[in-house]
């Protein structure tokens, strides 16, 4: 007769889905697509930055975007004039998870693009814990949010490769110290590449796009690209 047993497992609860994300990452690297996961608080300018980025890259590169929101397809409508866009609505969930990316990628028609952007749900907490199969994780911090945010949301900063300080044109009007924000962020992730941009009027977009192009070349050269630990 069976008795009560202790079954030892020792398994990361997200191991299976992160394994699928890793497969997607390898598959897209092999076809030359750099996958960029964009994280930020709501309203810090992800959609505007992606529109400006697509416009800048358009002459030489093919781009597409999967855009996540809790409700509505407003962002996909905003982005559609700039690049192929598919809206992912989570129906309440506060972050994107890999199965949604797979679904969205199929809805896009699995295109031969050079850059696939993933616009995450506006949230600096939960998205940091989910590998979406990206090669590059980028965090936007707008000047209106305050320069004290990095230490308050350490995982989002720790796991990112780049920090884009957005709405830089508002710096004369808000108490935001760029050097302080960057120092705070680099105390959590010393390898962060940092940029300062604004989209109305556009500034810093070239430097940011040059960085994306250089990261894609690194990926094509076989350098490992995945979220930081």
């Amino acid at each position: 007769m069976m008795t009560t047993r202790v079954i030892s497992v020792r398994r990361d609860l997200q191991a299976a889905v992160h394994g699928q994300a890793e497969e997607f990452r390898c598959q897209l690297a092999a076809q030359g697509t750099l996958v960029v996961n964009v994280l930020s608080s709501p309203g810090s300018g992800k959609t505007s930055l992606l529109a400006a980025t697509a416009d800048y890259l358009r002459a030489n590169y093919r781009c597409a975007v999967l855009v996540g929101d809790i409700a509505t397809d407003r962002d996909a409508q905003r982005l559609a004039p700039h690049l192929p866009a598919v809206q992912l609505t989570t129906g309440g969930a506060c972050h994107l998870e890999y199965p949604l990316i797979e679904q969205g990628w199929r809805a896009l028609g699995s295109p031969q693009v050079d850059f696939l952007f993933l616009e995450n749900i506006g949230n600096l907490v939960c998205p940091a814990s989910h590998d979406l199969g990206e090669h590059l994780r980028v965090l936007l911090l707008s000047t209106t949010e305050g320069d004290d945010k990095p230490a308050k949301y350490p995982k989002a900063f720790r796991t990112s490769h780049a920090l884009v300080i957005s709405k830089a044109d508002l710096l004369p009007h808000v108490p935001f110290d760029v050097d302080r924000a960057i120092a705070d962020a680099r105390s959590i992730q010393p390898d962060l590449a940092c940029f300062s941009t604004s989209t109305f009027p556009a500034s810093g977009i070239k430097e940011w796009c040059d960085y994306l192009v250089s990261k894609r070349l690194q990926m094509l050269a076989g350098e490992p690209c995945r979220p930081n630990r």
Binding site: M2, V6, I7, V9, R11, Q14, A93, H95, R158
Partner: protein
Amino acid sequence: MHEASLVKSLLKQLSELVAQHGGGHVREIRVEVGLLAGIEPLLFHEAFQRERIGTLAADAELVITPVGLTCHCQGCQLDFVTDKLEFSCPTCGAKQIKILVGDTVILQSFTLAPAVEAELTP
């Protein structure tokens, strides 16, 4: 929200594991929640209380052990353990560190009781 989705994933994985071990009822579940896992143990526990109803873990107790970070310093090549969200080596001060443990939720083990007892109860 995030805690609830992780609990659902835990219950799904448990149901697969129980099937692999010939069926039964889950009595105790032990998980380790890392300091940088992005999960609040209290909310994880509350989500479990809600989600376990009607599952094979309906009577199970969830035991959560918080764990700190284990990191490897790329400066002095030593590993260190910390309970603080400070990302530098306590020995040499280097900021180039790699997190080895503490940024995930680990299902350590569970206790599986035979189904017989429940099946005999009308």
